[in-house]
């Protein structure tokens, strides 16, 4: 369309509203077009709010699960093991869950944009705001309530419905030596090595953990301690670059001895 045609087209834009008025009113009079009732509108707004809140609640629970997973698997210790530890932490981080959570936040944000306060806030700021709120909720659920410990105990007794029980149980098998990390129990402590066993998943393996040269682990580790070790596995030898003794209060997912 040329610019001149565009101008010509608008010059006779004013037409009587009568035909539109009569056609619309005729549909209203005959009942073909009806105004939605207040109850219908209230219900649809309530459904929208409940859906948005439910999505954000699921998002917060997902963050709670991620936080619980990092806490009980001791993977956060990797951040103190130098560049290799940070690299392993990033490699083992549950990114699919994070992506799923971001998708949920995106859907929640899209739903909230139906409201005036939602579209008046730029997309990025609203998304970040929602993320901060659900992250704070999720982490608080993990750190300030006994929810996860209770769920874990119920999962141990097989008292949780599936797939919730299986999801909680999965944390037990989260780390394997083949992944470069393990949680194991010290059997004996030598000058440069520790003999330890790992009995997760119903099978028991014994490892010789070769300690880093400057490690003070041999003086701080006692037989019977539960350890979180990061290193390279070679058959039954585990060459560690980082080791941490897990406090007894935090060993809730360790195998029974």
């Amino acid at each position: 369309m040329t610019m001149q045609e565009n101008t010509d087209r608008h010059e006779d834009a004013a037409q009587p509203a009568g035909s539109t008025r009569e056609r619309v009113l005729a549909k209203i009079r005959t009942g073909k077009v009806k105004a939605q009732s207040r109850a219908h509108i209230a219900l649809s707004i309530a459904a929208l709010i409940i859906t948005a809140l439910a999505i954000l609640a699921v998002s917060a629970l997902l963050i709670n699960y991620i936080a619980f997973g990092l806490r009980v698997t001791q993977r956060d210790a990797l951040l103190g093991f130098g560049p290799r530890g940070i690299s392993a932490f990033l490699r083992l981080f549950p990114w699919p869950l994070v992506i799923l959570d971001l998708l949920l936040v995106g859907v929640g944000e899209w739903l909230l944009r139906s409201f005036k306060f939602g579209y008046r806030i730029p997309v990025l700021y609203l998304s970040i705001g929602i993320l901060i709120v659900v992250a704070a909720l999720g982490v608080s659920l993990d750190r300030a309530t006994p929810l996860n410990e209770t769920l874990m105990m119920q999962a141990d007794r097989h008292a949780l419905p599936q797939p919730v029980g299986a999801v909680i149980e999965r944390l037990r098998a989260a780390d394997r030596p083949a992944q470069g990390v393990c949680r194991c129990v010290a059997l004996s402590v030598g000058t440069t090595t520790i003999t330890a066993y790992d009995s997760a998943m119903g099978t028991t393996s014994t490892y010789t953990i070769v300690l880093p040269r400057d490690s003070r682990a041999t003086t701080s580790v006692r037989a019977g301690d539960v350890l979180f070790v990061a290193g390279d596995t070679d058959d039954q030898v585990f060459r560690a670059y980082g080791i941490r003794v897990i406090p007894r209060a935090q060993t809730i997912i360790e195998p029974l001895r």
Binding site: A17, R120, P122
Partner: protein
């Protein structure tokens, strides 16, 4: 006979069940929406039907309208959404859903060419050059320069942050001037 009541009062009466009064709102808004639709949709033949659809949607949703707020932006928003849906139905390619202009906030720089002769000149340029612009830029130029809506009302009609209106308006003017330059026409 003309009704001396405001749009908001009439809409409130329609909400209460006086459906015939909706005709008064149609009388008041049909010419504006038809003009907006013709400019925005760049098509003559379907505009009447699309405007009619907009009024039907407005009537169906009339109880969602808050009479404490101005009626005009609410009506324009319904019309705008109806026009966008009509464009999507006609588009061979899907219309872009996400707009990066809404991602962050922009400072509220009011347009300087708002007054007198400059505004008239801008209107003429827009009237002649609309066809060369994308809907995203067309809508904001029409609403601001031709329909004379405020930034806040445009933000409510388009459901975007008010800062986005300013930045989109600036980009729309730049796109318009580029379109004139590409056509070999001296815009100024």
């Amino acid at each position: 006979m003309t009704d001396a009541r405001t749009d908001e009062e009439i809409a409130q009466a329609v909400q209460a069940g006086e459906s015939e009064l909706f005709g008064v709102l149609i009388d008041r808004f049909a010419p504006k929406l038809r003009r907006y639709g013709q400019r925005f949709l760049s098509m003559q033949e379907d505009v009447e039907d699309v405007v009619q659809d907009a009024f039907i949607k407005a009537y169906q949703n009339i109880r969602r309208y808050d009479p404490k707020q101005p009626f005009s932006p609410w009506m324009y928003r319904i019309a705008h959404n109806t026009f966008v849906n009509a464009l999507r139905a006609k588009a061979r390619r899907p219309v872009l859903v996400f707009d990066f202009d809404t991602l962050v906030s922009f400072s509220m720089a009011q347009e300087e060419a708002d007054e007198g002769a400059k505004r008239r000149e801008m209107r003429e340029l827009i009237e002649r050059g609309l066809g060369a612009l994308s809907p995203k830029y067309r809508e904001v130029l029409i609403l601001y320069y031709l329909e004379e809506q405020s930034y806040q009302d445009i933000a409510d009609i388009l459901q975007v942050p008010v800062g986005t209106v300013g930045v989109r308006l600036r980009r729309a003017k730049e796109a318009l001037l580029r379109a004139y330059a590409d056509s070999g026409i001296d815009a100024i």
